[in-house]
Symmetry: C2
Subunit: 384 residues, 2 copies
């Protein structure tokens, strides 16, 4: 079997899940929160493990801003490991020996699901900025169609960090009966002014780039400079002051003295430059606009209304935050917990101590593994 | 007298200092830290109050990144109040009835002092990016020439916030005998990786703008989009998560519903847009590059060496930080205090509680006024 033979990704790292291929599911239309209708809609997704006969072992993994459906294993297309390889696989927290794990690319994205870079069937051209604005709720409604398609009535768990965590919360909000357990990580009930502000600056950088051309750049050019700046801003917010100090400090690239010029002299400058430049090869600028906008729109509503909405909800929660995450600080996770507690919902909360910032949930750490493993074990063994 | 007649600025606010005019001092040359020589050098400055006969009542105020020499009174040129009007004037903390207050524009700036927008006498053209890279030390050395020119041997006080605070620290470092008291506010001994990162992204935004034209845009065009993005990033870092929440929250501009488009719909987006757009009318993009670079280079050295350097220094310090300042967080001010304490230097420290972020030192607050007033009173009454 090919899967057995190719266990190493392009960087020489191996995965017990071997080679994985992204699949596609297309359905007729989706009514969006804006009132517009998107049609047709394709969802790119991957699955790991097997759905059992009772169909009660399915876990939906939701990705963050720049993620994709390739959450684990080695991609047949890119040769790279999945973005949550540390968490998904046999014997791992999302244990593919026990659970059927699904990950799908969000609509509005650029990794196989319908987004601004897709062809608009009415015009035969790329949507560009004629693509309708989508919300987290729209993303979740599209995922629900995929879950229907897979014959799953109720998900054993929905889990994700950052924007993935917003989808988790939206799932419970929109489909409370369909989610047995939920793991929102490093996320919030609503986007704050500061969070909107960072996204807006990134969008401005893209839209200011002359190569953006009002979004109609496909096949002609690409707003690489603008998108790189947006990514650089993002990267600063994903790390912490402390982790940047530990990783870069004031280290210079390759000389003992300052160059007294405007090249990237400090290691941190070079790192951001590299991150910006590589990102533009793997992400569509218009998708960056649409997805950040969906995040900015995210607001589950007033806490009082939420408590009513969630009152006596049967879904069990594990809420995780990270101590040095200043983009989605622990106080926002505690607010989720507070709302759930007031609504008499079963919730476990843990703030994991880590010098990494927001990105911490993507980096191997035993505490997160331990918490998720035991939370799932517990809920699964108890059945209904 | 005109000064008596015009006491209101363009916004209808008045100043007891009346109309003020920026003066200019030009000297032959300045040897820069990079090894280059800048020649000639003009320093724009303003003064408030009178130098006494003993010449022991002079206070030098140092401005932050986008400040200028016009610290107080109503500018004859722009009709606007000075940037530290709250702190400078008769009966105010920097009491012009008692003290002779000086504020000068930094070299590399664009408010009258020699900078990249000045004419290079060797070519007859604007310097642009041929302007030499300057450092905080170079800025201070240029100020020292002005202080010489004004016939002042020893400053009673050097004070400033943010980059102004770096100049304060550099003054004490470079000219310990010439500074009787020092007030560094919301500042640091060295720029960290995160601080460098934010500046670098701003610089990239400017340099990516096609209208930047390698810096040679004078009289032709202006990289307004790039500079606006840089300013927007800056503004986010000057406020706090909490102050943005209090000021904007998720408030929309003028409609009840989302527009589902990419206009600035949230108030915070509109605010940043406005701040970005107005900034480009008052600041030169190349100066933004040079001054942020000077800030990034700022590093007074290793703490151990600093303790040796400052050992038994006679300068008295008042160090102030702000609780919600995450750009120059209180821990950086405490580090200044620690170094000074280890060096047996007389230092008073106060962290002022404020929901404003870094900008707090520019906003009227009684605690800062009280602390500065009494610190100066005390030091002044004690004479030597």
């Amino acid at each position: 079997m090919v899967i057995e033979l190719v266990k190493e990704d392009v960087f020489g790292e191996s995965s017990p899940l071997g080679l994985r291929e992204t699949k596609f599911f297309t359905f007729d239309s989706l009514h969006l929160e804006s009132g517009e209708v998107l049609s047709p809609v394709t969802i790119a997704y991957e699955t790991y493990g097997e759905l059992n006969n009772q169909k009660d072992n399915a876990i939906l993994i939701c990705h963050a801003l720049t993620g994709d459906a390739h959450a684990a294993g080695i991609s047949k297309e890119t040769g790279k490991l999945g973005w949550w390889e540390i968490m998904i696989g046999p014997g791992k927290p999302f244990d593919t020996n026990k659970y059927f794990v699904i990950c799908s690319n969000v609509i509005g994205g650029c990794k196989g699901s319908t987004g601004p870079g897709s062809i608009n069937p009415n015009t035969g051209k790329h949507y560009g900025m004629s693509f309708p604005v989508v919300t987290i709720r729209d993303m979740v409604n599209a995922q629900a169609k995929l879950i229907d398609h897979l014959g799953i009535e109720r998900l054993f768990c929905v889990a994700g960090g950052s924007m993935g965590g917003m989808q988790v919360l939206q799932w419970v909000y929109s489909y409370p009966e369909r989610v047995k357990t939920a793991i929102p990580i490093a996320t919030t009930l609503r986007h704050t002014a500061q969070q909107i502000a960072f996204n807006e600056v990134g969008r401005r950088a893209i839209m200011n780039d002359p190569d953006w051309m009002g979004g109609d750049y496909y096949g002609i050019t690409f707003p690489a400079n603008g998108l790189a700046v947006a990514r650089m801003i993002g990267h600063i917010t994903y790390m912490s002051d402390l982790s940047m100090k530990e990783k870069f400090g004031r280290k210079l690239r390759n000389k003992e003295k300052f160059g007294y010029d405007f090249e990237a002299e400090f290691e941190v400058e070079q790192y951001l430059k590299y991150r910006g430049e590589t990102f533009v090869h793997r992400f569509d600028a218009n998708s960056y606009l649409y997805i950040t906008k969906a995040i900015d729109y995210f607001d589950l509503g007033d806490n009082k209304d939420l408590i009513k909405k969630f009152y006596n909800l049967k879904t069990k929660f594990l809420v995780i935050s990270y101590s040095h995450d200043w983009l989605y600080p622990p106080y926002q996770s505690r607010e989720i917990v507070k709302v759930l507690k007031y609504a008499w919902v079963d919730v476990t909360y843990c703030e994991i101590s880590s010098t990494y910032g927001h990105d911490a949930f993507l980096i191997k750490n035993q505490e997160q593994e331990h918490l998720v493993t035991h939370f799932l074990n517990n809920a699964y063994s108890k059945g209904e």
